[in-house]
Symmetry: C2
Amino acid sequence: MLPSSIMHSLDKVDLQLLRALCTDPRSTFVALAQQLHLSRNTVQARMARLEESNAFLSFDRRVNPVALGYPLTAFIEVHVQQKRLTQIVAELAQIPEIVQAYGMSGSTDLLVRVVCTDADDLFRIDGTILACEGVDRTETSLAMGELIPYRVTPLLERTARRVGPSGSTGGSPDEVTT
Amino acid sequence: MLPSSIMHSLDKVDLQLLRALCTDPRSTFVALAQQLHLSRNTVQARMARLEESNAFLSFDRRVNPVALGYPLTAFIEVHVQQKRLTQIVAELAQIPEIVQAYGMSGSTDLLVRVVCTDADDLFRIDGTILACEGVDRTETSLAMGELIPYRVTPLLERTARRVGPSGSTGGSPDEVTT
DNA sequence: AAAAATATTGAGCATTCTGCCCTATTCAGG
DNA sequence: CCTGAATAGGGCAGAATGCTCAATATTTTT
């Protein structure tokens, strides 16, 4: 579930902090303060606020599955009987190789992200998914490579440019002008 | 591109470290050492080794796009003229809302992950993608919700159980027995 | 099996960082 | 203008870090 605690909007300082952390995730508060010409107390307060407002997702996302021995990533579209959706999700959550699942609009019910050791492993996992009661059909696509690695820094930089000195991302970024 | 520097396999201690970091990403080395009954130096050496071997992906992945003002996530299957794939990817990388793109097997050429502010924004981004020379067709699916939030901890825990006291994940995890 | 290489341990030191407190100033909203 | 929130800068004690070192344990190689 998406967090429901986004209680404040991010201003330029927040964005700069996030950007700096993307550059060096182990930055100390002191270093961040120097880099951004802020007081250390401010960095501390801002970071606490970002934590509280769920600006940071889980550390899991930084763990490279390849390093764990799971070099393959696949996306499985899962077509289900709607009335059993909740149970199915609970069952899928018991499969460790399923690292994420979205409920989707349109003709796909679930988009399931899977990591696996090899093609046979993928086939096995697919079978496990299909064995769940209420799962009608799956369509598997193997990711051959991450051509654009996950990044938000272009967004951070653009949004920071747009909001100006002390503005915030309240509402839609596109509504904010410099 | 996937990192090509996975030069060593993770043993149980590495996995436990990663697991502990998933629980508390701001853990100090001292705290980790106490928690795992290790010497602080060992934690330090292990963390350095994990860093060097690309066990950690970018911090970007921890930044919640919702907090940035991008509450919607969508997956766009992009069908392209193969010979222009490289140029297309370069062009797609110029679009900040595209946060990730996989080259896929099968009938889908690219799976593009997009964050956006609303449905109109998504429609606009889709148009931008379609405007790239060599892009034939797109199919957009809107993620309605993250039913299983991204997690690797079940994998970490299972692999740690499997490898025993000092084993490692060299090769396929399924080949390792306790 | 023995030797060599590597990893771990625990101790230590100087430096830096953190959590927290405090007061003064600035900023933003009514 | 007033008020509350945020920022700044200073401070303190304790904790953490980066690094060194020698001894020990473990793993790998011969």
